[in-house]
């Protein structure tokens, strides 16, 4: 009895060759390698997103329970209120969020591009030191960095206090108070490395003989930048811009610290609605505008560059 069961067990065991042959199937190997990641994506990305889309089309009743009956009420509520459309809180908040994210992205690009170019051209020890110095602040917690900007800005912040101390101004400058400027500075600082590293990866792969050829053929520096360098580094520019624009659009901590409540970005608007009223339907509908705009941004990006190019190599 014991012998026969051992034999059955042994029969069930696969030899090494059989295991290799089993994995040799393209479908099975794909399932084993990509399967876990796919499950992860479905559980943590697709399922919550589907739930959010669903909730944006249902209501929450007076007992704060979701009523699973389709409605467009949440989308109507986003634009409810008196006066012209552009004066509605949601519209203003959305437009402001786009504007802040766009300016942040442009600033990151403008600031990071020359540095990335220098790093790509110089390389070696200089590169390592500069990259280390740029990344050093990012080893600290994001909240700490946001709080450090909080101390820099404000009527009595470090910037205004310094200007006053040296007699450069007679009273604190409003531009260094909390608000949109402070938020943009904070976000630019927060997301600068993403742009820098994306641009560096792209510029590092650039064939600089083309730049030299352009100059030899009489193109000015500006023309070389416009007609040679920028087109060839477009994938890095696009990937860096996406990495900066997307999180800036939904920023929450930075505006909370550096806006001092006088600026209402879309993330804060959604959080306040859900916190006070448990308006998850309204919050989901508002979030859809962010999700859809990001999908559009990616679609536009992929129209010009492939996903391999977005890696900057």
């Amino acid at each position: 009895m014991g012998d026969s069961s051992s034999a059955t067990f042994r029969d069930r065991l696969l030899s090494r060759e059989e295991v290799i042959a089993w994995f040799d199937s393209r479908r099975r190997s794909l399932g084993i390698t990509a399967g876990p990641a796919l499950v992860w994506l479905v559980l943590l990305l697709a399922a919550p997103l589907t739930f959010m889309v669903s909730v944006s089309f249902v209501n929450v009743n007076e007992s704060y329970q979701i009523v699973w009956q389709p409605t467009l009420a949440n989308y109507e509520a986003l634009f409810a209120g008196g006066g012209p459309l552009f004066q509605r809180a949601f519209v203003q908040s959305l437009v402001l969020s786009y504007a802040i994210a766009a300016v942040t992205t442009i600033l990151c690009l403008v600031l990071a591009f020359p540095l990335a170019y220098l790093l790509a051209r110089k390389g070696g020890r200089t590169f390592k030191v500069v990259i280390f110095l740029v990344l050093l602040p990012f080893f600290t917690m994001y909240l700490v960095r946001a709080y450090s900007w909080y101390l820099m800005f404000g009527p009595s912040g470090v910037i205004n206090a310094t200007l006053l101390k040296f007699g450069i101004v007679n009273e604190p400058l409003a531009m260094f108070s909390y608000g949109v400027t402070a938020i943009i500075v904070g976000l630019t600082h927060a997301y600068f490395p993403y742009m820098l590293l994306s641009l560096y990866a792209s510029l590092d792969g650039l064939d600089y003989s083309l730049v030299e050829a352009s100059r030899d053929l009489g193109a000015s520096r500006t023309e070389t930048l416009r007609d040679v360098i920028l087109p060839l580094t477009l994938p890095g520019i696009i990937s860096g811009s996406l990495f900066v624009f997307v999180p800036s659009l939904g920023a929450f901590v930075t505006p909370r610290f550096l806006g001092q409540g006088k600026v209402l970005m879309i993330g804060q608007l959604i959080k306040d609605r859900i916190g006070s009223l448990y308006a998850v339907g309204y919050g989901s509908a508002a979030s859809m505008f962010i999700v859809v705009s990001i999908v559009i941004a990616f679609a536009v990006a992929f129209r010009y560059v492939s996903i391999e190019d977005l890696g900057g190599i």
Binding site: S63, Q65, Y178, G259, K262, V263, D272, S276
Partner: protein
Amino acid sequence: MSGNPSDSPRTKSHQSRRAFLAATGAAGLTAAAGCIGGGGSTPTINILTWEEYANEDIKSRIEEEVGVTLEITKSTSSSNMFSSWNAGQYQQYDIAIPNNNYVPKMMDTEKDGEPMIAPVDEEAVSNFDAMYDVFQGFADSQFTANGNRYGVPIRFGWYGYSYDSRSVPDHEDSYKALFDENYVDADLSGKIVMYDNHFKAMSAAALYLGHGDAFEGSRVTLSQDQIDEVKQTLIDQKPNLQGYIAADPTYIKSLKQGNFVIGQSGRNEIVEMWSNDNDWPSMATPKEGSLAWFESAVVSSASENKTKSWEVINEYISAKNGATLAKTGFSPSVNPNTQEQLTDEQNEMYGAVDPSRLEQMIPFKAVENEDAWITAWEEVKSA
């Protein structure tokens, strides 16, 4: 020896493996029995509340007195407590202690057709009768439905405004100091702060505008016209603001840094500054009325230890623990017997409150048409 099969290394290995498995199994079963049965083990009460409630002295005293282990999660806002419980955490926590205006919302909340919070176990909360009458009355008027009470007040405070007396001259206490540029003989432009909270900021504006009667019922009832008037007042005020302050600790830091000189505030922030030898902040109690908050404990209907939970809450309003809580948060307990545990100076600052003063205050209340309030507040913030 080698001829005895039972002494072979292989058999020894089998024996030790069996012994190990048996021992592990027994240990596992014992542990499982402990988990499942729970008999004789100390129950754990999970609490979602403010930082001061996690004071080690209070915690250890309550654990010893009630025979429980307290797991306290700190929260920084009542709205977070409300939304997280709504999102399902009422199953994870036994107790939450939000501001009183969130208790009616929690009473309204149903989960699977049942109320989210449980009625008070009156026998377990034996210190209830020791409370100031006014708080017993608030509990009856705000937290009672269908003959059941659902919340127990713990500690309280009130909002007015405070100012740096070195920069702002003395004046009659009135919200005009925040909204009327000519009321105080000082340039306050860009040096005012308000709370970053629709209820607190809009209520102050409503009281400034003379809409005090809207606060008289069980809920605050501003009409749409009044809400629009409040909204416009706050929009007009905005250019003079340094900002909207989100949390109480931020207020103290920012006032000390000189970022503003006058702002809507709770009395406890100023008492904390007085306690730290800062004598220059002044607290104003506006003649139009002060808004009084009182934190109130609720117990989840999903709690498996409801009676123990109410016993824990009862301990938070005992004379000794209430006094420690008052010292920790610079806010008085709802139990006047706590005064016996405090020094004269402590009583003067936060321990003893004249009951007649409490009668004049406007308690936080749930809002009748909160959707309209939020919409107006968003328009103020984005203006």
